[in-house]
């Protein structure tokens, strides 16, 4: 019992669980777009960032209003970029439970809404481009987004970032992170159930139909453009939720936390687990979050007492990305199904339509 309690208070354990929850949501959202609908959203991290920035901006702005904060020195940008603002924001989190919980909920809702709208906008190229060019375009979108957040004081404080956030349970003192961990895992579980429900619904079958055979889907009465936009909306809203959770966990939102490598990590997780299989994604995320967190010199040395030679302690943080790269390559080469393959899903009408189409195509070639 004592052990279980100390585990629940253990920073590394909490960290792993929270990151697991966040990446699970992010990977599930990538799976909806890529796995089920066939949209290679290499700009995933952009939507994740949107959630984080919405959270940072809202929390900062409201907290400073509540504290009637007036900066001594304000060089530009919104109030929360000013010197002294982060400390004040943290203070409000610690002393005002209603604010902390309220702004958390508000950020989730508004973040998800922003994500969804942006997702629909970004789905525009998905109608016109071939898969590989679409991937590059979406990656470019996310880099343009990062460039803007790095440079602009309005509304994101440029490279300084939005700081001083805390978990919505900061007022609980030392239990804050533990309770937040349960919240994140709970939300991740909800998202999992939502994703499962969605992909097994008629809508989910429409996604797969669009992925597998656009023509057949069209015959079947689905507008591929609309289906793709819907998938992007749902996926991006989920990614934004993950970003919100991340901002409240980390306490700061900085442009360089949203590099394409985050997207690549989510890709590796989905591919490892099994594309178009949510159960597989859970496994993939679990494995790679462990890799991500344990390939860390200070964790290995201080926490587990594993001595590392100098060259390893300097380089181990990079080696984890080598592992992630290898996972992507090896899965594609040797087991494109991932650890848990996609469940075959038969939709009678689609199958029949596909068969008919195929026949007529072959007939034409005769």
């Amino acid at each position: 019992m004592v052990d279980a309690l100390s585990l629940l208070m253990d920073p590394l354990f909490i960290d792993i669980m929270i990151i697991f929850g966040i990446y699970l949501i992010l990977s599930l959202s990538f799976n909806i777009e890529y796995g089920f609908t066939g949209i290679p959203n290499l700009g995933k991290v952009l939507f994740y960032a949107v959630g984080a920035y919405v959270a940072g901006g809202l929390a900062g702005w409201i907290a400073l209003r509540l504290a009637a904060f007036t900066p001594q020195q304000h060089l530009g940008g919104p109030l929360y970029c000013a010197y002294g603002a982060p400390q004040t924001i943290t203070e409000v989190f610690k002393t005002n439970p209603a604010f902390a919980l309220g702004v958390f909920l508000l950020s989730m809702v508004i973040g998800a809404a922003f994500g969804a709208v942006l997702g629909i906008l970004a789905s525009y190229p998905a109608l016109r481009l071939r898969e590989d060019f679409l991937a590059i375009t979406l990656l470019a979108f996310s880099e343009i987004g990062r460039l803007i957040t790095r440079t602009e004081e309005w509304p994101v404080c440029a490279h300084y970032g939005i700081r001083g956030l805390s978990t919505p349970f900061a007022w609980l003192g030392e239990y804050s992170l533990t309770v937040y961990m349960f919240l994140v895992l709970g939300i991740a579980a909800l998202m999992y159930m939502l994703a499962e429900k969605l992909v097994n619904s008629p809508w989910g079958r429409a996604l797969k139909a669009v992925r597998d055979d656009e023509l057949a889907a069209e015959v079947y009465g689905k507008n591929p453009a609309r289906v793709r936009a819907q998938a992007m909306a749902v996926g991006s809203a989920m990614a934004a939720v993950a970003g919100t959770l991340y901002a409240f966990y980390l306490g700061s939102v900085m442009p360089d936390d949203f590099m394409p490598i985050v997207t690549f990590l989510a890709i590796a997780m989905v591919m490892l687990g099994g594309t178009a299989n949510n159960r597989g994604v859970v496994v993939g995320v679990a494995v790679l979050v462990l890799v991500d967190r344990l390939f860390n010199a200070s964790v290995l040395e201080r926490k587990f007492g594993i001595p590392l030679p100098d060259y390893l302690s300097n380089s181990i943080a990079y080696l984890k990305y080598v592992v992630i790269g290898l996972v992507i390559v090896l899965i594609l080469m040797f087991g494109p199904q991932g650890l848990i393959p996609e469940k075959p899903l038969k939709t009678p009408i689609v199958e029949e339509t596909k068969k008919k189409l195929k026949e007529s195509v072959e007939g034409g070639e005769g």
Binding site: L129, F133, T137, T151, I324, I328, V329, M333
Partner: protein, 310 residues
């Protein structure tokens, strides 16, 4: 008295030509590999980084001169490029993977290359930021303000020389024509008895050689770190995309992109107060606009017969 802005713009053009030549060399490798093998190769960025480091190792650790170091860089990277095809892309192609799979795999290959170099560089002192021990000498100083050095001449000359050599290869030799044929219609190339495996190898080697030379120039002119190639990635894609993935189109688009990027950001800063931090946005925006509104590219060189097929 020539106004300062004129000098600034002149400087931007000179620098832009240098950068544009690099985009052209890198973008060309991307294009040729894409056309022959359908791999939109994200790892191409890392080849550039490897070129920079190979040149550095050749000079610092092996004590070679500048020219041998450039050759080492080109050869090492050709080897790395060939290896990535033999080990990853060719097996995937044999399995019948889609272009999207190639792209995702190339991200994986890129991560492995970039971060294994990063890991080594982090554990060897002095390797996280490198610059070749020989600095480019100044050729001329124009108006007492704009210094032109060896690299400003070297990069465009290299781009020109490469273009000329490739032109001969593609229009005069059987191998070069076979490469174009394979790019144009891979199935028919196979049916015609063209050794598509050999064509493939030569393609990766050429792409690698050019990326290696680009990396050499970067570590000679500015400096390099394990992420230097990655920072060029979207520029080289922009060049290839604007050139409609045609061989000559990419080279011309790359050079134009370099000059336009430099000049535009200087002028935008002068007149609109836009910070130079937005320079990469020029490449990104051009790329996205071209893809969305003219996916066949804006600079297509049809008369040379290297048109991209619809």
């Amino acid at each position: 008295m020539v106004p300062t802005l004129a000098y600034t713009v002149f400087r931007a053009i000179i620098d832009g030509l240098l950068e544009g030549s690099l985009y052209a060399l890198m973008g060309f490798g991307l294009t040729i590999v894409f056309r022959v093998t359908r791999v939109a190769n994200f790892a191409h960025a890392e080849y550039v980084t490897y070129g920079a480091y190979a040149a550095y190792v050749a000079m610092v650790a092996w004590g070679l001169g500048l020219v041998p170091a450039a050759i080492v860089a080109a050869l090492v990277v050709a080897g790395v490029a060939l290896a990535s095809d033999e080990l990853v892309f060719k097996p995937l192609w044999r399995r019948g993977s889609t272009p999207l799979h190639f792209l995702v795999a190339s991200i994986g290959v890129g991560l492995v290359l970039r971060f294994s170099l990063q890991a080594v560089a982090a554990s060897v002192p002095g390797y996280l930021n490198i610059r070749l021990p020989e600095f480019p000498s100044t050729l001329a100083i124009i108006g007492g303000k704009v210094a032109i050095n060896v690299v400003h001449a070297l990069a465009p000359l290299l781009a020109l020389g490469t273009t000329a050599a490739l032109h001969v290869l593609f229009t005069r030799t059987k191998l070069g024509k076979a490469m174009r044929a394979t790019a144009s219609n891979p199935t028919l190339a196979r049916i015609s008895g063209i050794n598509v495996i050999m064509v493939r190898r030569v393609t990766w080697i050429i792409g690698g050689l050019l990326a290696g030379l680009s990396g050499f120039i970067i570590s000679y002119y500015i400096q390099a770190n394990p992420e230097v190639g990655w920072n060029f990635l979207l520029w080289m894609f922009a060049a290839a995309i604007a050139g409609g993935f045609t061989f000559y189109g990419t080279i011309i688009a790359g050079i134009i992109l370099g000059v336009v990027g430099q000049v535009a950001i200087i002028l935008a800063g002068y007149y609109l107060g836009v910070t130079t931090a937005y320079k990469p946005a020029i490449a990104l925006v051009i790329m996205v606009l071209v893809l969305l509104f003219r996916p066949e590219g804006i600079i297509r060189i049809q008369s040379l017969g290297l048109r991209r097929r619809a």
